[in-house]
Amino acid sequence: MLLYCFRDMDMANAEDIVQDAFSAALVSWKEDNMPANAEGWLFKVCRNKAINKIKADKKLSTVNGAEHFDIHETVFPESLIEDQQLKLLFACAHPGLAPKAQVVITLKYVINLKVEAIARILAMSIDGIDKLLVRSRQKIKDEKILFEELPAGTLNKRIPVVHKILYLVFNEGYKSSWGKQLIREELCEEALMMTKILLESRLANNETCALYALMLFNAARLRSRFSISGALLDLEEQDRNVWNQDLIILGSKYLQQSKDVTVSSYHYEAAIAYLHCIAGNFKATRWNIITGLYQRLLQLHSNPFIELNYAIALYYSGKKENAFSILKTLHQHTFLHQYYLLNTTLGKLYLLEKDHAKAKNYLLAALKQTNILAEKDFIMRLLEKTINADTT
């Protein structure tokens, strides 16, 4: 916020000032009542402190250089907070930053998470996050990324990047829990909220709609992914009665609305999620349509990780041979070979095929490839099945 008004200030200073303002708030709000517009109050305090700070800095430099100074302040009404958040989000979507860096600065400056929290969520070291932030901060400073008023054309161009950021933020929240689960659910909520804000702005397009639908479908299933005892459940084991029908209906509405001439990967992913959501049980899932959708998704953007999902859908749609041949090809790939989900998938499918020896090998490999406890437990449960089957 502050950074917007004062182009002369850097981020570290701005953060200090905001902290100051909050401590001032704690002192004065204790004595009086809360001001009616708390955000506005805080902003005013920050603004005044910022002006003082800039004046002090400039005085220092004028002593030396005796140069004339004025403070650039962009004036805007105090109640624009929500739009400001969106604006910042668009600023974070600078095309020169890596998607990961964009997510990190969004979490830091738009969602206001602490570095430690971000590190925990993204499974990165605090040091790593700091390095990313320092690098992006340098870029932000050099190119004044957060300060520019973006023209409509640029904003429109950045929409795909903004979508990507929101998608990734949601994804981070959706991934299997490790560490504190609560924070992760909040991330999904934040992503949903920001997508909603974007939807209500003039900038939204049909992709925004599809993305929102995709998030709603996944959010509907969020609670069912873990059993009461906290164990990770796969789609087949999930209790479909826990799925939030309101979210599914809302999602369908947005998916319907998102129809347009252009079809994005979000459309396909949302459609796949929709088909999963409306299936009465695992067996009733319309795997044939889902494989078709994955095929389209692969045409649009092919990568081995989507192929993995495609192969799983193929297996359940009855094309088992195709599925195994794709999986085996993927397995020769150095990076995929090390990917626990590929090995888990192979393990599970061989288990279903009753080839327990093979299943066991893949599952043992997978077990070494993840450090997340819930996932390890999940693989262990599959392993037990292979062992039980052997003994009977």
Partner: protein, 148 residues
């Protein structure tokens, strides 16, 4: 469970036009090759370390795939030959062992700045035990695809 969905999107209608129109976003993406360089002597001496580093790179590839940037890639074995005119040096010419090619990754990115920025997010680049050379792939009109 009852099906209470009232809106039934018609997939045929939604998706039929896809083939006529390519996604504009895809078109503006460029392809890049990441040439991964690290201390191959060290990897050779410890297969366990090698394995561990490949695993970490796998995690990074998953990240890149999630953000839609990953196309493909592989790690390389630690041996090889170097062929130049009149010369065949086997078992590696590895003059500067610390910067020997140990793998490659193809990615999609908006522009070279973003590709560089992506390379900087590699965990081993961050702890400075790896260097990545970022090279834009030269595509001709007849051959708009890279085959990985």
């Amino acid at each position: 469970m009852k099906c209470i969905i009232t809106f039934k999107p018609d997939f045929g209608e939604i998706f039929q036009k896809n083939n006529q129109r390519k996604c504009s976003k895809q078109k503006s993406m460029e392809k890049f090759l990441f040439i991964i360089r690290e201390d191959v002597q060290q990897l050779k001496s410890s297969p366990q370390l090698h394995q561990q580093r490949i695993q970490e790179m796998t995690k990074w590839s998953v990240d890149l795939a999630e953000s839609g940037n990953y196309i493909g890639g592989n790690a390389l074995k630690t041996n090889g030959s170097y062929i130049a005119k009149d010369d065949v040096l086997s078992d590696g010419p590895f003059i500067e062992a610390k910067e020997c090619i140990s793998g490659f990754i193809f990615i999609d990115a908006d522009n070279i700045e973003q590709a560089i920025s992506i390379a900087q997010t590699c965990p081993y680049v961050m702890d400075s035990t790896m260097a990545i050379e970022v090279r834009p792939v030269l595509l001709t009109e007849n051959n708009p695809q890279t085959h990985v």
